[in-house]
Amino acid sequence: MKIVIIGNNVAGTFTAQNIRNINQEVEIEIFTQESYPYYSRINLPELISNKKEIEDLIVFKDKWYKKNNIDLFLKHQATSIDTKSKIINFDNQEKKVEYDKLIMTLGSTPNIPPIKNALEMKNKGKGVFTLRSIKDAFEIRDFIKEKNVNNAIVIGGGLLGLELANQIKDSIHSTTVVEFFPRLLPRQLDEDCSLMLKDEIESRGINVVLNASTDEILGNGSVSGIRLKSGKEFDAEIVLIQAGIVPTTELAKQANIKTNRGIIVNKFLETSEKDVYAAGDCIEYNEQIWGIIPACMEQSKIVAASALNLKKKEYHGTMPKNTLKIVGVDLTSIGIIDPAKEESSAWNILKKADKKSYDKIVLKGNKLKGAILFGDTHAVSYVNKKMEQDVSREELLELLELYKYKCDGCGMIYDETKEEVLFKNLPDDWKCPNCGNPKKNFKKEKYK
């Protein structure tokens, strides 16, 4: 049997590995239009700043493919699929590939919001870019170097947008991030933590503009700036758009496979055509698009089993989860981080806001439902392990190092779980609000 995978991204590569782990006989071929084996996209901004080289980004080298007996074909763009005769055609017209099972891991392309001139100026190389591939990274790097760029605008304050701004800021006079939402990382952070991140980013010399919808890219010929819907204008010689992803579906559409926003799959990641499967950024399951690495990893297991006719595990969606460094600060964001206010009675939230770190644990009853851990990693493994399980409040308070402080004069309790400011961050001349006893006369107590 021969399994063909189109796409050498996270989903495609790990699907191949998962298949090989449980079956050494089946032939596995991966085709990709890329010129490099599987590489880490999240590090692309560091390619622009020359902090990393291509070799550092490549996750699996040739040796890995050989060892696993997986054939990788680079620079092969699939142009059409005949699902009846099970043949794939490529841009190189003589090449035709037969398959028994086909797995489409087509990935995604950057979303370009409806901004006047954006698409046109991007396609003509006039200073509007998106970052998705090694080629994009080099084009951006060379443009900054050659065009003497003084001001850069990044449209999109998401993970990749912020990291991109962070990496280019040193070689550019002024870098500005323009975000449509009222806060940064709206999906990963709550309002308080977002403000903290904003301070951190601004302290590094990056300007942040929130609630900003870009109306038009300005410039005759080359980019000269942007205009917001509010009318406000910013100068820029380069505009980088990082505003989410669009699933790649053209190849599926052309083969009459059902698509909507993404390629539609069932819980076994089967498409509407027999023996054709899909996984990763390109799919739509339950009217949802995922576009996160943990989802690709999970789907790569299920699609591997399905393609080998072992339908034992079902896909039911992936819990949102990110663990990474954002502008050099450790961040883990998992599950539900900002429960709806109207159901507040069921939710139980523990927060610890220090000067440079922020921990928030979200419980429903006693069950751990989500967390934000910013600038502080020591609760990460606990949270990952205990998600969706009952946890004890005492254990959590101990983990977060939250305490009660008792005034030895009047017995008043300063309870860090109820106050906005940690006891240690109160000013030295702070006094007991009840009896005027100085701060040093408070004794630390654990929760029991």
């Binding site: 449980i22 072992l310 595990k313």
Partner: protein
């Protein structure tokens, strides 16, 4: 967490990390490291 160990090469098949549980693998499954058959695998008792 269920783990099976290959007696020949010590490869660990960890159910959670694989597409299917060990018990659901087909009979012609071979160890990805040393290619011996399924019969060489023993269930590893969880550490307590």
């Amino acid at each position: 967490m269920t783990i099976h160990r290959c007696k020949r090469c010590n490869y660990l098949y960890i159910d959670e990390e694989q597409p299917v549980c060990f018990d659901d693998l087909e009979e012609d499954f071979k160890c990805p490291r040393c290619r011996c058959g399924k019969y060489m695998f023993v269930k590893k008792e969880p550490l307590k």
